[in-house]
Amino acid sequence: MTVVYEDHDDQAASDVPVRRIRFTINGSRKIAEVEPRLLLAHLIRQGLGLTGTHTGCDTTNCGACTVLVDGRAVKSCTMLAVQVDGREITTVEGLATASELHPLQEGFKEEHGLQCGFCTPGMMMAAKALLDSNPDPTEEDVRWALSGNLCRCTGYQNIVKSVLWAAEKLRS
């Protein structure tokens, strides 16, 4: 995999520190050479072309860049790409199979859980982490779990309904 960097300084290319990392993303094993300062969100978007992960605020507030690392939800704009060496990443692209949407995706469709759609991947990944650990959440549990994700359309009502819809589908 090739990651192309912006070059703004005069450092010799051979002096730029690069590290080789190995990781799994959405079930597929990868090796990448990354600059240590590359953020995980940029590895995912620019390096791997998985643009479902969005970068919204870039300041650890909005949660649009949420992915799972070893099953735990993290804000990928606030983790270095080198730190996923040996780890397993799941992005929103890892939810659906070739033939079927994930119940969370179905839920967002059924309950109109998205308006502009920008926050949706992060909402889904935070919800995935919740449902993996708590298959039968209350509305309060869902609101609490999504409190690190912002929806600028303020469509929270339907987002919460979508997650509850998915929880029920997953249980049945």
Partner: protein, 291 residues
Amino acid sequence: MYPSRFRYEAPRSLDEAIDLLRMGGDEAKVLAGGQSLVPLMKLRFASPELIVDINNLPGLDYHRADPDGTIRVGALCRHADLEHSALLPGTQPTMAAAAPLIADPIVRNRGTLVGSLCHADPQGDWASVVMALGGHIVAQGPGGRRTIPIADFVTGPFQNVLDPDEIAVEAVIPAPKGTPAGGYLKLERRVGDFATVGVAVAVETLGPNVIRAGIALTGVGGSTIAATAAGEALVGKPLTAQTIEQAAGLAAEVARPRTDHRGSAEFKRHIVRTFVVRILSRADTTAERAA
């Protein structure tokens, strides 16, 4: 936003990490949860030349109680570990109350209590909690380990007393001598914002009387404020409407809030008083107080 260029090392042992820090000197920085450091690096407020990532160090992700009740929190124990702790609710109510209020759920998956103390943000929540509990930090350097009381650990906004080649490996909460009670309350505009006001209260009771009390305040001054007089006023007395009101008044007195977009100084001072009353009223488990 990209951080400026740095060298990255991910040592596998504490000794190796300390060696790297020694070589890096003032330009090296420890990376634990990274939930404060990485944003600072992206904004170029911090541009370390060497990052020593301690996330691969074994055996630092614990929080546990010694047989005597001392609680130890390792450098890689995440806020979420404390939030979902089976240990804290029964043993350490102030910490149990604070853990779910740190930042937001996703940040809590990465951020650490020890890292938060080291970062020494004047608006950090854990500093007040650990100060109210009279806790300390254990730091390890080339010369071995030393223990630093939290009040001496933080020297100013974003400054601590660690030498460049020292790592804070553990936060320690001393064993209670009585029955612990207390809590942490935080007023915030929305989840993830800094506290408009945060109040940490930790009391220990023996029979009807308080034998130790610590109160500390977040967000109402240039740094964490220890409301020492408020705590001392409770010692030797039972928790009654009068003693609680007195302590709350003393706590509000030492607050140094400023009027800003989060609220007026007067409002924040009022909240300090209200929170102290609220936590102590709940802490009163003796049920002797007239309703």
